[in-house]
Amino acid sequence: MALETQTAPPKVRLDPVRWMRDNLFSSWANSILTIVAVVLLYSIVQPASRWIFTQADWTVVVANLKLLMVGQYPLDQVWRVWLSLLLTMAMLGVSKGVWSKVVGNVGPAYVLGLTLLAVLPFPLYGLTNRLWLAAGAAVLIGGWWLGRRYGASPTFRNGVSWAWVLLLPLVLLLLRGIEPLLPVIPTRAWGGLLLTFVLAITTIVFSFPIGVLLAVGRRSSLPAVSIFSTIYIEVFRGVPLVTVLFMFLIMLPLFVPGSESTDNIIRAIVGFTLFTAAYIAENVRGGLQSIPKGQFEAAKAVGLNPFLTMVLIILPQALRIVIPSNVSQYVSLYKDTALVVVAGGGMLELLGISRNIANQPEFLGKFIEALVFAGVLYWIFAFSMSYIARRLEAEMGVSKR
């Protein structure tokens, strides 16, 4: 019987004074550090908030909000961007319902953010935009409910996965248009945050499979495949991203006749993709190397051929391991899309537009406000990305244990 009786752990009372003594003032050194940190924090937050609330002239952002968000995209067609947002929010909501732990707080945070933007009395935008924002929050909640309701069914889950796969082409088609149903909006009119997203997401989607293939190729026993992969990876890793973009945007038309008619955005995406794939390949190769030899032997011993071994046994384990490094690559890519401005081609994404605004006569030199605004937008989505990735990793870690 003695084995059955277990004593409960001692109860810890939540006591703020005690907590502070244990964690902030446990020793002289710790107390000094705490005080220094508080002083530092104050000396940064105080002037920053004073600037944000009293000195900054946010009219520059208000007047250029549409430009910052979608660039030159025609105003009467902006509903297509809104609809794309709605589709994405609906998918996010469904995913929150189905894989609640992975999406985590991103779901509620977006509902809250969209709702606040829709109802707070900012003098930023009109009723139509508020309705769109409210609709965004509404479809997110609706999707969430749907996901919770049907999330148990494997068919539904498969459907959701496929819907994510189809979302990108669908949104791109919607944004670009298709004659005669929807007027085509030439990609040179795309700009701002919209362009940043299109560049980043398309690159992420294409560079992942290419990177995985290159990583597997580099380890291949066929010399032609492994040499090609190695050369490709080393060349693209050894060249600055700006150079790659410059090659594809400016130099390509000089060397390859006929390529000047190719869309600038497509050329930029190809450049970003080829560059990012090399880094993804190296990350994945690191993951492949960390898989013990015994896994390959066990797969061989049950009769799996090399292809099935890779697809069923090795890659699922290796790709999980490299989620953190791949996501940091994607976050840095997302921010590096700003380089299209430097490389030329006339594309103005979020950062490019923020800088351009400072050239408008009425807002001459008011670039800090626009840059801070752009910075906040970059941060929101970069953080969402790394947050979801961390949750995904933790979720998959459970099964790995």
């Binding site: 011993a301 049950v302 099935l308 069923l312 046994i313 384990q317």
Partner: protein
């Protein structure tokens, strides 16, 4: 020395040699196994016993000599290797289960993808095998949630799922805590009594005494001596065998 028999033998090895760089791991190993025979291979570490059984399903490649498994000679022909691997099950010292798959999926994977069995049938067979090794209640757990002994039993079930004619065991109990060794050996004893051809590298002499038809003593890449458990334990002929047995018994 007995000459290897060709007729009725499921495994025939003639003058098998294997080198790692300059080091010769196997020196002219000749041995055969009859259908249903249980052979225990033992010897000091580095004596080539693991290398030898790994050559039989070609996890290692021998450089000279002949290995014929169920009438198929091991060569560089990929089809031969695949054919032999699906005839020969293997259990490793470190279990080598697939950590990202559930116990059930570990077992049903190869029948589904290699034998092209429908999912339901593969999973039903997997459940039956889990029952046979006594852990059907763990089917939906992941390998990392199981004890070492349970993991090794899953590994045995995984190998059996391909319906092999020969089972190779490479020190199956060496990585286990003492209290888990018995549960694995019990499964192996049951398997041996069911008529499976087994080659077992182990130092579990109790197991050898109970079910082995023949003991083979390896040292320095060679077969030093072989015989029935009775002969080896009570009347070993070679000095090296005597010394080694004195150390482990």
């Amino acid at each position: 020395m007995m000459q290897p028999q060709t007729q009725g033998d499921i495994i025939v090895c003639r003058d098998v040699c294997k080198w790692y760089g300059q080091f010769q791991a196997l020196k002219d190993v000749s041995m055969s196994a009859r259908r249903g025979e249980v052979i225990v291979i033992f010897g000091p570490s580095g004596s080539g016993k693991s290398t030898f059984i790994r050559c039989i399903n070609r996890l290692e490649e021998h450089q000279s000599g002949q290995i014929i498994v169920d009438g198929i000679e091991l060569s560089n022909d990929v089809r031969n290797i695949d054919a032999i691997r699906s005839e020969v099950g293997m259990v490793f010292q470190q279990f080598n289960l697939f950590p990202h798959l559930t116990v059930l999926d570990n077992i049903a994977l190869a029948p589904k993808w290699v034998r092209r069995k429908p999912r339901a049938e593969a999973e039903q067979t997997a459940m039956e095998l889990l029952k046979r090794v006594g852990i059907e209640t763990q089917a939906h757990k992941f390998p990392g949630q199981l004890s070492g002994g349970q993991q090794q039993r899953v590994a045995i079930a995984r190998a059996l799922a391909m319906q092999p004619r020969i089972m190779l065991f490479d020190e199956p109990t060496s990585a286990l805590d003492p209290e888990m060794i018995k549960e694995v050996l019990d499964v192996m004893i049951e398997l041996a009594k069911s008529g499976m051809t087994m080659l077992v590298v182990t130092h579990e002499m109790g197991f050898a005494r109970e079910v082995a038809d023949r003991l083979v003593f390896f040292d320095h890449g060679q077969i030093v001596e072989q015989g029935t458990p009775e002969q080896i334990f009570t009347n070993p002929q070679e000095e090296r065998t005597k010394r080694f047995l004195a150390q482990i018994l």
